[in-house]
Symmetry: D3
């Protein structure tokens, strides 16, 4: 089985981190390939950046399937252009926000999300509502750090994420936390240990859910909204 | 006051029709300018087409404001990239689906939507849910015609739209109908007469709502999700 | 075009303020006429007052249409008897709560409402839920002032409204604020300036939305719930 | 214990029927007194009629409590001015729609409502949604009869109500039916027998719920929205 | 009329308290019989305890009806196995959570719930959501006391419950409070007095609602989900 | 990795079928062990049967973990006692209804469920609503066959399930179908082929999701509702 993990932004160091996170959890015999949406913004911070990454992302989805991808992981927590990717693909496409919150709802009755920027909070709230899990989500929180700060050695971004999780536990009474940015994928083990509750990295669970759907023989429905687009 | 009506697809005949619909309702002294998202797909039929039109659309939004637009009407019923347009703009941006269903909810307790293609039905259902009006929407229906059939002289598209509205009245008991495609803008008077209930064209009401917000001194909030994007 | 703005309470000074707010935003050529629901309570503070104003209000709606009104603005934030007014009228009838929150949802992803009395909070929460915008409304807040304090020169009511908006921004993270009382209509420019986010006066936007619906050729649906009442 | 059953319309024969229905289920020692909202419309068919009955209804609520009522039943399925009545009263006030659908939800996982006029359907749908039971309500149906036809000897109204219930069972798969008009109170035993599923008369259950709240020592909360109105 | 109040846990002192609460409100001529789910856990603290009590509870339901019960009150605030009890019974079965929150919604526009243990909070939140009253429930709160502490003379459990109610009034602005544990039934009069708002004991209102449904001639629908189980 | 698939009913032939379905999709190196809730009803047809199977099921959960299970699949579409199993377990516990509908929502914008008995329809509707996917579920349908008919060679149960799926496609416009009974696990390939849309077997996807959560290092949160029960 071959899974392709696409980073919808153009920052290669982030692609590498994401691929490492996917490989760390992949089952034996599952090949993980990373792809970067070259030409997209350097990070996805809001609706505009989502829109600007989409054509590059769709190109990568197409090329990934042409190169044999059985399923695709969309590795940005805004799940940008997820419906469009599903139209273009024939195998499953899994967004890391959808995977993260659905996984959380299988191991806890409530969760909070901790993301980077304040401006992403309403974006994620809308996603969670669309996925039907608003009643399980105590709160979407921001650690008030730019996405790319997570890439900078020596920044206090890690500590701020941990502190925000601790506040979520204290103030929200949440039973699990979902990390609201693909760039936090390498922090998940450390954060789980520091905070004592399940901390969920969307990249890892999306990778595993992609494996799961492929393993169960499921592909994207081509009957209805996700039918191949008329135009290419 | 200057309003710019942007056609997110690249079909110029549709832009002309939309501009005519906007001009037909514009208040005295309101200038209507049309813009076509050149480079976008010829029609927007699903998520993929929405994604592919977005960068072109955002370019038009920016240029429209640079050329003095006080507000922008996004003239495709999928309201593609509406959040992104609001980030980029400083004045109001009104989508025709949002305007259409909000207008319907001010003159009727229930409405149905009649769109072109079956594949647009779930897209519009999701939009209506996001706008909070699922409880007012009896049903989203398709007249089973391609978007561009509405541009072809001699097609039976007009009649099929009318027949679908009559079915909506009969089967759904709806009190009003919202036309689910910008390309139906020129049919609204005829359809109202044929069917006997209020038929709402999103282009017309979005144009008037744009006037309304500008006239009330409102602009897009730049505090939060619709702040200017970091990246250009 | 002639719009009639009806004050559902019997306080004439409030009618004058409301009419001024409507005139300040009306398009050229739009005539604004004010009407006071003489015989109604002096202010609308809760369900009882809504019920007691309704017959007077309905009389004014009828007389307004007989005198040539193209549309009616119902200028109390409780939107009292809005459905009944729509049954009686043939043109559009716009409530200022409905208009305010729908306008807010077109320029921001979230808003809070700031009203006068604590007892109005649950009333407005129910209205917002009915309009389908509970997911966009961070919180309905009260500045803890009686409605008529806004009419008294020298009261600290203005300052208290401003302070409550500042708390809404700080505590709720809202991107816009809707003023929850027709009596605040004259404060909107000052409050916008003091607080730095869009502040929305329902009277102004309801006036513009009334213009909009008339301009788009829409009238209240007489098919279904808003059909003329059997009894007069 | 003294319960007052108020007919919000002015048709005395309907009051008598309602009082009989209440007396038929009242516990030993519970006195039932009927009151008619003299001056109100002859029947409540839509929002306008609700609004016009309200002041008369509120007068009856006040007089009922002055005359020693421990609780009040509001015997019209539109639950007109229910919040206003609760402000004015100190004991519990129970609407027959609220009572009917809450009772249904205690004995069945789903129910349909069968009312008289088509125009009442959206009114009742909104009430059921407000009471939080939309997910239990399969459908609100109309038997397409005027309210007062139920008062006319020899009309086919009874048979049409029965037939509509049978259609509800067949088409909706509902497990119980709530009668959507106070004027159907005398039909409940016959309809239960004819249809074989629980048929619920709101007058009966509202009477019993009023007894229940009084018996449990509960009164309307005077802290918040239902506090006494400032104005009389 | 004979009502059977079943304590789903095996603590006899709690059964006695519950029976006393039911008898205190029962109408003249209504016989109250208590039953204890011998063999069940000593208290119901979470989903596991609910599951373990269920077979014992169902046995008691069957025996109660064989012994002539007209209706059954399920006296644990988690409403454990309520659907199963309704399948097995022919008369009405009322859960105290369902009764408590439905009663609250008839006398107030909002309520909070005060329960014993923190772990019961998400359980009750789910119940309230299922009953459709999430929009009326300000918050489910825990007084952080074990269920059985309420049985211990000299514990500070009573005071902690009162203090939590006072916090609910202050912080939530709720208009009524529902006691979230059958073991608080004997505190209701004292708590109402101490706090000044309606405090609702589910045992009392469930008893009265059981009387009400029996008095209105209603039984559990045997058409659909609550039909008798195939297997015994 | 060792996954234990528990059949909550006592029919061993069904356990064998379920285990076969799980093994058919398990990744290399994943051991699947089946367990039967001996002592439970022969099939789970409604709330009562759910309640009666629960203690036996919980015993199996405990023994499975003592015997080294990394995760547990609960193989009955009613997801009986799922919360209780999660309290008792330390690894993930996945219900097949939850897994089925969550998988469906990742490959389609809408789905219908096809189950066996009519009485299971409202049970499953409630589950789907609780999982937050009511807006994705077009309809829960019954093929009107007893659960155990699926075990009988020569019955027409298979054909009836297929026909019901074809009706779902035609009437509901659903894009995928979820099989609403563990006993249909062996039909999934045949049904997919016969119907042309993705048909989802909960046993297969629950098995894969269990693998996924274990592979991502996630365990049931022991902070909050799913903490170990106090009592054993």
């Amino acid at each position: 089985m071959k899974l392709v993990v696409i980073n919808p932004n153009s920052t290669v160091s982030m692609t590498e981190k994401i691929v490492a996170a996917a490989r760390a959890v992949a089952a034996p015999g599952v090949e993980i390939e990373g792809r970067t949406a070259t030409g997209a913004p350097a990070s996805i911070q809001g609706h505009h950046d989502e829109a600007m990454c989409a054509p590059h992302l769709l190109r990568e989805v197409r090329e990934a399937e042409e190169a044999g991808a059985d399923a695709i992981v969309l590795a940005c927590f805004d799940d940008p252009a997820l419906g469009a990717c599903r139209e273009v693909a024939t195998g499953p496409v899994i967004g890391i926000c959808e995977a993260g919150v659905k996984a959380a709802s299988m191991i806890a009755t409530s969760f909070s999300v901790v993301t980077t920027l304040p401006r992403s909070v309403p974006v994620i709230e809308d996603l969670v509502r669309g996925y039907g899990l608003a009643h399980r989500c105590r709160r979407v929180r921001s650690a008030a750090i730019p996405v790319l700060a997570l890439e900078e050695p020596g920044s206090d971004a890690r500590a701020r994420v941990r502190d925000e999780i601790l506040r979520a536990i204290e103030e929200d009474g949440c039973e699990a936390v979902v990390l609201g940015c693909a760039g936090m994928a390498d922090l998940v083990a450390w954060l789980s240990e520091e905070t004592g509750i399940p901390v969920i990295d969307g990249v890892a669970v999306a990778t595993k859910f992609a494996e799961a759907l492929v393993g169960a023989g499921l592909r994207t429905s081509k009957s209805g909204a996700y039918a191949q687009p008329e135009t290419h």
